[in-house]
Symmetry: D2
Subunit: 341 residues, 4 copies
């Protein structure tokens, strides 16, 4: 089976599975009071070149909703791309954890937010009026839901608008490794140096079993995050097994190696499907318009992927997601069938 | 180190770790649409001898709060023992997930609720008055927080009161295996046959890495549980690894074997500390009053455990929790030191 | 001062103020257990020609948010016009009271929702997927925020779509009297006979001091409304004074007389501003494009009104709201100045 | 009918009704942007001898729940007397508005909290542990639910404990006027000079129609209160009518005159029922043990009052609440019948 439905359909990267097994030795304090969890502070500080507050959780939805509920009051509004995961795929988790804040979806080319759209949206809010939700955060996703990547200067431009308007800037980094691998810059350049306040640092989609980390670049901004995590049932008792995943994920650059594999496979697909692409292929997602018959033939041959929109004029827009586990043969087989059109 | 602080300080049972590794083969649909998760329905149906609705989650707090929020409206009250985990150790998770329901702690000997106390509490509520939270559920913990065990007939007596007053009956089964192993009855006898409506079926404390299951004995009572789980960020993407833990936990009776080991070690401690016990030792927890000097000596020797209440009159009430990983030598060493008084 | 900013800038209709004074005689049971409140059931039953559940509250925001929270689960989505009050002017009250449901704003000509837009929006939801909020209600406003009026057959067409998709149909009737007076049909024709499930029946904007009523046309659909009202702090202790307002509002058709005055004054303004109107003038609101200089001159002369959008090309779109208290001289004076262009 | 069920069974004090009628002249900005509401700041500043932030609402439940939600985070605990209104009579409003904070009821003689009980309760919390709700506020009621009154030095003693533990101190002043009238001290002495941070200043029970004011003695502590009030549907559109009530309530000392009448009538009842009293009669509530037959005879004669607890040993504890509208003849008649035993 050639499975391009999502990167989370794939399993656990070998070194991470090994680390889980190693973490099983002996007893350890529970609820995050173990040595592995304590060690995350320095690992993430090294990675981001500054002191940070870092908290492991086990889903991206929890990471996003808990981070945003820490940054945004109940009467706040969170501006985000209209295709963003927090708006379209989390069943209102952000609304619940913030106690009623509102997500405002904005259009933006290539699946990204742009300063002009954000400024236009902000102009529509009546500042300081209790009748209206008040803009409190800007949420971006990198790599984006369309597989495109924000550059540091693009983030900095958004940050400038955000800061000028008193908004916190959150990045959903479910595919942060893919973005970073694509750009080749440092983790700090892609985050706090560009103005990011808080990051949902994803590992699950890129080889972990269930491990994400919420990172606040100003540790004081984390405020009551630990209480929020516990109150939401997201404080894992045997936390050492989550922290061990994050350790192994970072160790020796495994995370970037994994991301580079995924990105490279997507790039191959992108090259083969040139002319059919809806978005530039920059990370590990490919959006391509295929003839309906081709899509059907691929599925008959065992390929799995999502139709992104309903068929139209004989074509269908499909999403292909690659991962660290995508094999050359998978891509070759897919291209062979798709390419016969 | 002899670690009696909690059963969740211990790692993962061997067969469960193996199962996690095996689950890593190939790709699988995410978010619970995999074969292992689908198979849980029949496994739990067999275990409980009836069709049930079963949903994996990864913490006991989530299991309890999500289950109760499904059973109880925002204006509801949940009666529980004053020492119960949902009341004392979950930072108000139930209050948040129910959108403001209230936990009402009741006293009860041996850490258990008894029908008379429940009836007395219910009599204090003005039924049907909008000014007061309305009793909507009864929550019990089995094995209890004091290491004691509810018998089926005790649960049935509580259920009779609950049903007569329109209350749902929830069981926090973080240590359900220990209770079942202690009693030797069937899982159905200890749950729905005695009147339990919903169970938080714990596995983490008894050898899983992070795996619990919420079980509704009337599948219709599950109502919107799946939406609640997702909205709370508790739907794991690589769910197969959670379901694989539950599979291996049940496979060949591992769960009961593990629980029997834990219970037997607690029983040994209990026998050695006879005369100092605050509660009968029925499952895997021992509450004993030790001379303060003895407790200090034990800690110097490397033993770890919690003081349950502040020292008084030269004694301190300590809690000792055993697990599947507790070794004979741990118990022997502890007893040797403690017994020299 | 000629005040067209809003109908709620005007005071209390004479007969309602008299009724408040009369209600002051003697003592009465509090929290709605008084005779006046009890009598609302038959008054509203007579008005709507069927048994209904009716609950007084004191703001329109409370009426809307409490009604919708009764109809919609936390994972629900509420489709409404993009200009609707619940979406734009209530600071996220609906999101809070529903515990995180989502409002989805849709475009629609003349400030109204139309079946095709609703169907198109519904098609974008993935039904039964826990990842996405599930459409649970349709919310319309009559008279609309643009001063236009839904006809019974238009509501019936929306109801058909709603019912076919399992959505409840709620009507924000902050200006229900104005809509009814404009159409001349019966209250039942404009509500449940056309498919409305629940109505926020407004009185405040049309002459009451602070009185609205939430009406459920199927009394069973009210479910736990009374608990929600109390839990939100919206159960008034001296309720007789709210119910007395509603009594006097309905008595002898005062409400429709008041609405007819307001509508007639708006119609006069509309005729005078013919050619400048952004929407048909059907109830008591006029949206007109005035030269910026004219708007300034009107304000200098003491007129008050809101600019609805920022000035553009020398014109500004203003909103003029009339009420039962708008005098002929107010309109004449306004027209005199505005008409000199 | 002699009505002692509650002070909110009585109507509106004459001067307040007159003020409502006067407020009806002309148009005024809505949602609190009117002159009467603006004037409250200086009136309350004069009353309390310092700058304060003051916000009108229309129920005591809203005042309490909104004030506490401003002071307490979702993971907070609020310590209060076990008989306090916020705990027993508001259907969990505080839990909802705080998004899941917990009320912890403490015993206390004469219906009041005492420093030793508060300190003992605080000692049971594990400070800084995410597993447990963290004490964040102390809530007292003055006059208390038992009709007793906190003296300034008693409040100061509680404040000392509160401040030492980082707790905000809130006073439910539904019967603040009765307490103040009883003590004869200044409003500042009974509030901020004794350490109160926020006050629910009640007027409804003492002669207003529906008017309370939330007062923050440090205006900065009000933070996002205005957004919370709006989001909860508690911002009244024709606010001038609420503010006019508060103006008239304070004007010429009406509020204290009203309270003195109520207190004096209660004192007469208390003297007549000497020997039967459960609590000292200090404000406008009398708790007396009457023979069951006497209570029945009083009801036959038209008296209305609540049984506070079920009958026992031939006696029943009844609550008698007096108000500004209680007449000498009411008291005389009641005493005449009750006194024949």
């Amino acid at each position: 089976v050639v499975n391009f439905t999502s990167d989370n359909c794939h399993g656990v990267s070998g070194p991470i599975l090994d680390a889980i097994a190693r973490a099983n030795a002996g007893s350890a304090a529970s609820y995050g009071d173990d040595a592995a969890t304590a060690g995350l502070a320095s690992r993430f500080a090294a990675l981001f070149e500054r002191e940070v507050a870092v908290y492991p959780v086990i889903t991206g939805s929890a990471a996003n909703a808990l981070a945003l509920s820490t940054l945004v009051p109940p009467h706040g509004a969170i501006l985000c791309h209209e295709a963003s995961h927090i708006l379209t795929d989390e069943c209102g988790a952000v609304e619940m954890f913030t106690h009623g804040a509102r997500l405002v979806g904005l259009p933006g080319r290539e699946g990204k937010l742009w300063p002009d759209a954000v400024e236009a949206a902000l102009a529509r809010f009546e500042k300081g009026s209790v009748h209206h939700a008040q803009p409190a955060a800007l949420g971006i996703t990198n790599a984006s839901e369309m597989g495109t990547v924000y550059r540091p200067h693009e983030i900095a431009a958004l940050s400038k608008v955000a800061k000028a308007n008193g908004l916190a800037l959150h990045m959903d980094g479910a595919r942060f490794a893919n973005a970073l691998a694509a750009l080749g810059c440092s983790a700090s350049e892609l985050t706090w140096r560009a103005g990011i306040d808080a990051l949902s640092f994803g590992a699950t989609k890129n080889g972990a079993m269930a491990a994400e980390a919420v990172v606040f670049f100003d540790p004081h901004a984390a405020r009551d995050f630990e209480y929020r995590r516990k109150k939401a049932g997201h404080l894992i008792s045997k936390m050492r097994f989550v922290s061990a995943q994050l350790e192994a994920y970072l160790e020796g650059g495994l995370w970037l190696d994994n991301a580079r594999i995924a990105n490279a496979q997507a790039a191959k697909l992108g090259r083969a499907l040139q002319g059919r692409l809806a978005f530039p292929v920059e990370a590990n997602e490919v959006f391509a318009r295929l003839p309906v018959a081709t899509a059907a033939r691929l599925r008959e041959a065992g390929a799995r992927f999502y139709d992104w929109t309903p068929p139209k004029d004989g074509d269908v827009l499909v999403r292909l997601v690659t991962s660290f586990a995508t094999r050359d043969a998978d891509v070759a087989r897919f291209v062979e069938i798709a390419g016969t059109e």
